[in-house]
Amino acid sequence: MYSYSDFDEAFVRARVAQFRDQVDRRLAGALTEDEFRPLRLMNGLYLQLHAYMLRIAIPYGTLNPSQLRQLAMIAERWDRGYGHFTTRTNIQFHWPRLVDVPDILAALADVGMHAIQTSGNCVRNVTADHFAGAAADEIADPRPYAELIRQWSTDHPEFSFLPRKFKIAITGAPADRAVTRSHDIGLRMLRDAGGAPGFEVLVGGGLGRTPMLAQVIRPFLPEAELLPYIEAILAAYNAAGRRDNKFKARVKITVFEHGLEAFRDEVEARFAEIREGFAGVDAALLASIRASFAPPPLAARDPAPFHAALARDGAFRAFSDTNLSPHRHPDHAIVTVSLKAHGATPGDVSADQMRALADIAERWGHGELRVSHEQNVVLPHVARADLPAVWAALKAAGLATANVGLISDIIACPGMDYCSLATARSIPVAQAIALRFRALELEHAIGRIKIKISGCINACGHHHVGHIGILGLEKGGVESYQVTLGGDATEAAAIGERAGPGFAHDEIVPAVERLVEAYLALRDGPEESFIDTFRRLGAAPFRAALYPREGRRDAA
């Protein structure tokens, strides 16, 4: 993976020193809270419901074992012994004290990490396919491009005060595991007729209060033009984006209000102006970055021990069925480690588990770890022969839950258990759904389904693109949960449609259960997934299951 250059190292260290001084000045009264807030946010430090929260960047979700061990150390020394992986593949500590944050940032810098641009109206952490560099269906590893964008966008003088935050996601495979269409810019790798790599460039996606799917602004952008084209988009947005209304300030609204064609004209005009200026510097930089992402040497390994374990052990077989994905090297597999043990908090990981994951990655996974936007951890390169040992080690750490892609593999934002913006809780809903379907022993029979839960309209829990989306709101002084149906986060992206009136906190799990029962009754065999049944039949039968009394009233 990419290692810090001397420039990166000096830059991050300078930021730590700067922030230490800012904290000192705040504590001494030389800075007011109003003056200090933007400074702490620039370093990822929020003040939440119960405590400060530090959001640490994990660029394109890639971590190495020493970084994860350092996060474990930080969790134990300065926090409460755990961290929380987010839907933008970052990690959050929910309990740091302000006075300790400069030391935490220094400890992060020791392992090439920081919290810069994890907040504020700037280009945020660039996310990528969590199977990057390993997936069987990949055209190219998207991470070198993501790193190129990270370097270009870090402290970019023109784009440090955008109208609003700006999120970029990139996938190198036709299967979209990075939810590119929900981003301000989505990049999808393609090859042209001659086989040269490039990108389909999408713009104007976003969830939140006005969910929109990104549209294609350039069907094919040659690889060499990536940086100037992105800069042109940012420049057009920076000039045309609204600054009068925070809720209309994202690029999705700019594109919507101006129209895609007019926005494209602005971008292309700007692109024509700046293209020359890049003069190959970006290509040289990309070439040097690419060397850092050289794939690990993967030797041929006889997978016989894997097949023997499959035949021998039903629990291992269940894990293999759900938590493994095809690797480009046939003797290897991609392991998704579920952070969704039934009843656990989605995305939470204890310090002990961080160390166990670091050890496992080091011993059997070429020292590579990824964080997925679905709040799981990925071991991208594991020999099939080693899978029984990896599974045993994961099991010992409480990390062998065999539920990836199933109903308990739920995305949930921190919600009102932590977040000061939240209007309702998310985590207990996720926990209750997972526990309920385990008790029913229906999880494997239900098969692949995506439930995503947000605790407010900002949609950090991606509820709009869940097959079943749940949005927690406040209604009449109590928590109320609105259900959306038919959303999709993949290359077949769709925004879910609102099903009807909300449900009280104690009604939402039974409501989900009725939806799933309806699906089981309606599906065209076990091969037809929830979303496929929904697409075949539409929302009506699912609405009827959600609101049975209304149906009876209509019939009466």
Partner: protein, 104 residues
């Protein structure tokens, strides 16, 4: 006619630690809402909030939160404030609370 004043407590976040605090009648910042001052008079509430706002080196973002009289002292009225007074409602992973955060 204006709405009658709803009883309230003054609450904020501790500047250094970030934890939730409430203002007690004797001007201490306390970690337990039950020990806070329940304010039932609008003019007094405004004075107490001003007092809190005059301590930017101790607390961040003081505000009046609706509360009611309970058997052991003030109790939060809104569910957000209930969660705020009790901490996350789910079981935390890891060994439990980390470094003890001194009050005030």
């Amino acid at each position: 006619m204006s709405r009658p004043f709803t009883p309230a407590v003054v609450t904020a976040s501790d500047l250094r630690g970030g934890h939730v605090v409430w203002l007690a009648a004797d001007d201490r910042w306390v970690r337990d809402i039950a020990a806070a001052e329940l304010i039932e008079d609008e003019a007094h509430a405004a004075l107490r909030l001003l007092h809190a706002q005059s301590q930017p080196l101790v607390v961040v973002g003081p505000y009046l939160a609706e509360a009611r009289r309970g058997p052991h002292g003030p109790e939060p009225a809104h569910f957000r404030e209930i969660f705020r007074s009790r901490g996350p409602t789910h079981l935390l992973p890891g060994p439990g609370p980390g470094p003890v955060q001194p009050a005030g």
